[in-house]
Amino acid sequence: MSEKEEIRLNRLPAITWYWLNMNESEITSEPCDGEAEVSVSVPDGVTESRVRLSENKEVEDLSTQPTGAGAAFSKIFDTAGTEARLYTVPAGLKADKPLKLQFAFADGKNSLDQVALDVQKNAELTLVMDYASDEAASGAAAVQTKFRLGENAVLRIVQITHVGSDFSFVNDMGGKTADNARVEVIQLNLEGQKVYQGYQIDLAGYKSSLKTDIAYRLKGTENLDMNYFANHTGRKTTCDINVSGVLRDTSSKVLRATIDLKKGAKGAVGNEKEDVLLMDEGVRNRTIPLILCTEEDVEGNHGATIGRLDESLMFYLASRGLNREEIYEMMAAARMEAVAAKIPDEETRADVEKYIGTVSED
């Protein structure tokens, strides 16, 4: 990008009334200063290379893989000529350590990074992506992650976001699964003034599955804008999307979550669940969970609870000597901890738990 441009992103696959302002979001794309500083730890057997996705025949399909942010946003990477970091996990390799990518976003800079993963047949990989900047950093960053999974492949993606109080960050993802492949996504949003994140995952392979756990804790005037799209085209595919979060002060969030049960996806099952705790008077929560269905032999479920803490639970905890603020903080930490506990990499999990402040004293 050489000039400022308004870009629409996180658009719903099926839009609704405009007055709700939930169909999509808009960001101002600043001229790009290049890539972020990334420290990389690659497990044995996994190869790393730099490629332009559209110019590399072997992973050409990844260049057209749709993502949560959408086509207009993806174009930024094409226009900027971004070279993706391509990681290939060869067939049958079960990586013994996680692939770690630690992004350090510089103050006042605007960076673009692209990551691509080719996890081949029967291979397994855990990918940990840590997005960080200085606490008071300003600027903007976007990281786009694309992947394809071969038959029986397993990919666990852990993304931790803690960027500055004046920072805008887009965490975009898109991928496709072959037969029996499995994707597990864990996203923890710890800090970030304006964060946009989401995915489109095409569950194309027979019995392929997607499991997503997302937790966020927003405060001040932070805004989190999400768009998750589970696209079921394969038979007996499954997805579980669980989102849990806490809003404080005057923070706000939008969750768009779509399960699309396409014709031919016989036996597919999609589940979405959301739990939002509203802690302060100035918060704003927007949720739009879509289930789209063109197949008879499927099941789609969605459930959401949004609001205050249950009064009887409040009463019980108060009777145990906790004040209102302590109860709320405890509940907020519990929601984050519940997702953090699922992080498969011990070191990352310990770091996150420390950050959340929920490490058991004993």
């Binding site: 509203l278 927007r286 949720t287 609001g307």
Partner: protein
């Protein structure tokens, strides 16, 4: 369990799908121009403000864009729609015998006079663009209940009341078809239920569109005063033509303090109809609006009754069932706006898609900052009866206060094999078991209707199940 898969037949519409000769007394040209609007205004003998209102609405109509978020309405060409058709009848009468024979026969076949005798406090019958019959029983009239056509009210003693309420809840700027309605509206009912009056029997308006290629734009305005109760039933049907017909009615409901209004609709327009209807209620302190909605007809529907809870403790319930069959794209749902403390809303809907039909449940729940201690619960369930149909749910929630509790659940699926198995173990055949499950699925609306109407609805849904090679 056998391999044969039951087929769900289409709704039996024979009782609605009969055509009467178009023997109207007057109709405008096709299309929509200032001249046509002025012609309608003159025909209706509008007061000056209404004529100006119509022209302003037309400007809005020309300014506003068509919606791009719902079903396609490409097949609707306003240049081919006749916006006003006056039937060959006297202006509204109160004596059924004065209604012309063919029109009378139409409503008799639809069971309207029988229903009036059996269970209604009053009836209005609209044929094309005009009300041809309107009557309210003495018991209701003696309690001060006003039930009349809106045009009479516009010129009579309620003129000020009409002027201060007409299209105030649904302004012409709301959307393109609200503007269209403002420009060419004709017919409809005005109801006023005085303070403290509890009307034991429902009032009913029935809308019949007989003219090919015409539009119907009736306006319903209901004011239920403090502590009063009303159940209003709306029915509609039309014969099927091979050209597009249009229904762009408007319903505005004012529910007073501690008052309750139940608004029931069984919509069964023919499958060439574009049903672009707007319904809205505003509810004062302690008041309650109950929407009961059955959507079975139309080629395309955009229908989302809105409840604005503006008084402390106001409540809204929406109970709906939508049945989309071959050639139908029914986009239905509701909107709830909480704008006062202690308000609550409850939504329960069922959608059934079959034979290539498309059913979309679309909703919004907005809880504003001042709506402390508000609660909302939304439940939508959809049933897919084959793999050539489509069913979508698009529910939105916008919560702007921490002091609220909102719950939402949605479910899409097919008939459960376990449930069929259980019923078969109790002695039912597979066909009977499936039929029972489908009927029961839509029962959330049926059980809320008066018995006579629930029976009508069940007849309407007459789902014939039969074994077939599946």
């Amino acid at each position: 369990m056998g391999k044969d898969k039951p087929i769900v037949k289409d709704i039996d519409r024979s009782m609605y799908d009969f055509v009467k000769k178009e023997d109207d007394a007057y109709r405008t040209e096709e299309g929509l121009t200032p001249e046509i609007v002025l012609e309608i205004s003159k025909e209706k003998n509008d007061p000056e403000w209404m004529r100006d209102f119509r022209l302003h609405s037309l400007e809005e109509y020309n300014r506003l864009k068509l919606p791009d978020w719902g079903p396609s309405i490409d097949g609707l060409d306003m240049d081919n729609i006749v916006t006003y058709v006056r039937p060959n009848a006297k202006r509204m009468v109160k004596d059924w015998n004065e209604v012309p024979e063919d029109i009378k026969d139409t409503f008799e076949r639809l069971g309207i006079p029988q229903a009036e005798r059996a269970s209604l406090a009053g009836v209005g019958a609209q044929y094309d663009s005009e009300l041809v019959y309107h009557n309210v029983k003495d018991e209701a009239a003696e309690q001060g209940v006003i039930y009349t056509d809106i045009e009479s009210a516009l010129r009579g003693e309620y003129a000020d009341m009409i002027r201060s309420h007409f299209m105030k809840l649904v302004p012409p700027t709301d959307h393109k078809f609200a503007a269209l309605h403002g420009a060419v509206w004709s017919g409809g009912s005005f109801v006023y239920v005085p303070k403290g009056v509890h009307l034991d029997f429902p009032l009913q308006s029935y809308f019949r569109l007989n003219a090919k290629g015409a539009g119907q734009f009736e306006h319903t305005l209901i004011i239920v005063d403090e502590g009063a109760y009303l159940h209003f039933i709306e029915g509609c049907s039309a014969p099927k033509y091979n050209v597009a017909n249009l229904h762009a009615g408007c319903v505005e409901l004012y529910v007073g303090r501690n008052a309750t209004l139940r608004y029931s609709t069984i919509e069964n327009w023919s499958k060439n109809m574009y049903n672009l209807n707007t319904k809205r209620a505003v509810v004062d302190e302690g008041g309650k609006i109950e929407w009961i909605s059955g959507s079975f007809g139309s080629h395309v529907s955009y229908l989302y009754p809105m409840s604005i809870l503006k008084g402390r403790g106001a409540r809204a319930e929406f109970t709906g069932v939508t049945f989309a069959g071959h050639g139908q794209n029914l986009d239905t749902g509701c909107k709830m706006v909480h704008s006062a403390p202690d308000t609550s809303s409850y939504v329960s809907t069922r959608s059934i898609s079959k034979d290539g039909g498309i059913s979309t449940f679309r909703s919004s729940v907005v809880i504003n900052k001042n709506a402390k201690n508000s609660k909302s619960s939304v439940s939508c369930q959809s049933l897919m009866l084959d793999d050539i149909s489509r069913s979508d749910t698009i529910p939105a929630m916008d919560i702007r206060t921490a002091d609220a509790d909102v719950g939402h659940e949605a479910k899409i699926g097919r008939i459960s094999d376990d449930a069929v198995f259980y019923l078969m173990s109790r002695g039912l055949t597979e066909e009977d078991a499936r039929a029972l499950i489908v009927s029961g699925f839509a029962d959330n609306v049926g059980k809320e209707l008066p018995l006579e109407y629930a029976v009508e609805m069940n007849n309407l849904i007459r789902l014939e199940m039969k074994g077939a090679n599946g």
